[in-house]
């Protein structure tokens, strides 16, 4: 394998790493939020992401809305779908057994994936962006870049900043953090924790919807099965970054995006999926509770 990497290849790796990282950051943050509050791992998180992509896709086609604005429609729709999913499915299973919670999300994967297939077939789609053919030239590193790439990074930064402010600075954000740190004490503060479950689940899936839209703008990768792997990787990211840690999910997502794009460049695409799990297994063998894991839930 040629390991001679030119500067421009290196820049490419970093750029694509960051772009991938953005998707992972959005996914992992949502998953992490849901885990923090409910102590549930939603393995069907990727399906909500793809569903969000479809919502943006159809909105941008039928309403002719700029896809970057259709993100907001998607956030709203998927947020509501998430709230309903929590209310109808997860709440009834919460606390019965860990296995039931895991298998429930497995069932949701089947339901959502195949429902999307039935509705929209397995055709791979892409949301067409009005800036599709605009490229930006960077003189210093002598590289051409699709404008969309820059916008995607910008949108992610904005959304994450909004999310961060919501969690760290607002009353409901405080209530969410309180619930995730100590559920019974949160109840004693007068917080309606079941409402927090619903809200966090909706917020988490809404973040996934954003990821799905951005993904579908960047690649022709919008098809029902496309969410499964990214969600699993997002979960490995939060295991590595520390279950429940907001910063961990962001740093972990970016780091993983970079690691993946360099692994693809060096080892080839075959290893793309294997890398995440190899790292995960290695970490868990050394520390069975995760890198920054809580001792016992």
């Amino acid at each position: 394998m040629p390991l001679e990497i030119s500067l421009s290849t290196l820049v490419q790796i970093v750029i694509w790493g960051l772009i991938n990282g953005c998707i992972y950051v959005l996914l992992a943050s949502g998953l992490n939020l849901i885990f923090g509050v409910m102590k549930v791992v939603n393995f069907a998180h990727g399906e909500f992401m793809i569903l969000g992509g479809y919502v943006s896709y159809w909105v941008s086609i039928y309403a002719g809305l700029n896809p970057y604005f259709s993100i907001f429609v998607s956030i709203g729709v998927i947020g509501i779908v998430g709230v309903l999913t929590e209310r109808v499915c997860f709440r009834r299973v919460l606390g019965t057994s860990k296995l039931n919670e895991i298998v429930l999300s497995l069932g949701l994967i089947y339901v959502l994936q195949n429902a999307m297939s039935v509705l929209w077939t397995d055709k791979e789609r892409q949301i067409s962006s009005p800036f599709e053919f605009i490229t930006v030239h960077f003189e210093i590193i002598n590289i051409n870049m699709r404008l969309d790439l820059l916008i995607v990074i910008g949108v992610t930064v904005l959304i994450m900043a909004g999310f961060y402010i919501l969690i760290k600075r607002t009353k409901i954000g405080r209530a969410i953090r309180a619930t995730s740190q100590n559920r019974s004490a949160a109840m004693l503060m007068g917080i309606n924790v079941e409402y927090m479950d619903m809200f966090s689940f909706g917020l988490g899936t809404a973040l996934a919807a954003t990821a799905g839209t951005l993904l579908a703008i960047l690649f022709p990768a919008l098809y029902p099965q496309a969410g499964a792997m990214p969600a699993l990787k997002a979960f490995t990211i939060i295991v590595l970054g520390g279950l429940g840690s907001t910063i961990g999910a962001i740093v972990g997502g970016l780091a993983y995006g970079l690691a993946e794009s360099s692994a693809i460049a060096i080892l080839g695409g075959t290893w793309r999926d294997a890398i995440a799990f190899a790292i995960l297994i290695l970490v868990l063998v050394i520390r069975p509770t995760g890198l920054f894991g809580e001792k016992e839930a």
């Binding site: 405080r174 209530a175 953090r177 740190q181 100590n182 019974s184 004693l188 007068g190």
Partner: protein, 234 residues
């Protein structure tokens, strides 16, 4: 103001409380005594709606509250400072206090409440930007009490505030309890520490093996042989 009448409660199929009754009047300090495992914590959890009684009723200002969810009970003015402090470790002291004022009514008065609280516990003012987990045990207990006060409770229930604290700190906390009471807050105090509890309480109840076995004012209880027996088996 609080009336617990014939309450029985269980965890799963394990019955913990058997026909327990007590009442608290406005402005009082009332204490529930009893050895470990007598069901004191279960009793306060039942009052707060964390556990729903199998039978009996709980009234607050003549309104039934035993079927309400916890957040509604907090909303109408009953606040519990739970056993073992139960603070939010990864938030600052200030954020912990703000969470105390989560209910809408309390939020309006939060600046004023903060001022009062910093008066009673000046150390919390110094540490307000620190993460709560970095406080010492005694400071955490003060934070827990202060957080309870932030929600402007009509009735403040404290579950073993002296647990695991050095005698000096216990003294401090009991002193602040008196101060809080003088500011018009009714207090229901759950304690193992018989002497101290009876020193500041107007009246007391003795809970033993899930049943209310005695009630009376402090010197009555203190003189009672049964209290000694329950604790020491003399």
């Amino acid at each position: 103001m609080l009336e617990v009448d014939g309450v029985s409660a269980s965890y799963g199929n394990v019955q913990i409380l058997w026909n327990v009754s007590l009442n608290v009047k406005e402005g009082e300090i009332v204490t529930i005594l009893g050895p470990n495992g007598a069901g004191k914590t279960t009793l306060v959890k039942t009052i707060l709606g964390l556990l729903h009684p199998n039978s009996g009723s709980i009234k607050f200002f003549d309104k039934r509250i035993d079927k309400l969810p916890t957040y509604k009970i907090v909303d109408i003015g009953i606040v519990l400072v739970p056993e073992g402090r139960e603070i939010f470790p990864k938030m600052t002291v200030y954020e912990n206090l703000l969470l105390g004022a989560y209910t809408n009514a309390a939020e309006k008065n939060k600046d004023q409440s903060l001022e009062t609280i910093f008066q009673i516990f000046p150390v919390l003012k110094e540490r307000r930007k620190q993460l709560a987990q970095t406080l010492s045990g005694g400071e955490q207990q003060m934070l827990a009490i202060a957080r309870g006060l932030m929600s402007k409770p009509k009735l403040l229930i404290m579950d073993e505030p002296s647990l695991g604290l050095a005698p000096m700190l216990v003294q401090k906390i009991f002193n602040s309890m008196r101060e809080i009471n003088e500011k018009g807050v009714t207090i229901l105090l759950v304690e193992q520490n018989v002497h101290r509890a009876l020193e500041i309480a107007d009246r007391g109840y003795l809970l033993e093996a899930g049943k209310m076995v005695l009630s009376g004012d402090w010197n009555e209880l203190l003189a009672n042989e049964h209290v000694k027996k329950a604790y020491l088996g003399l």
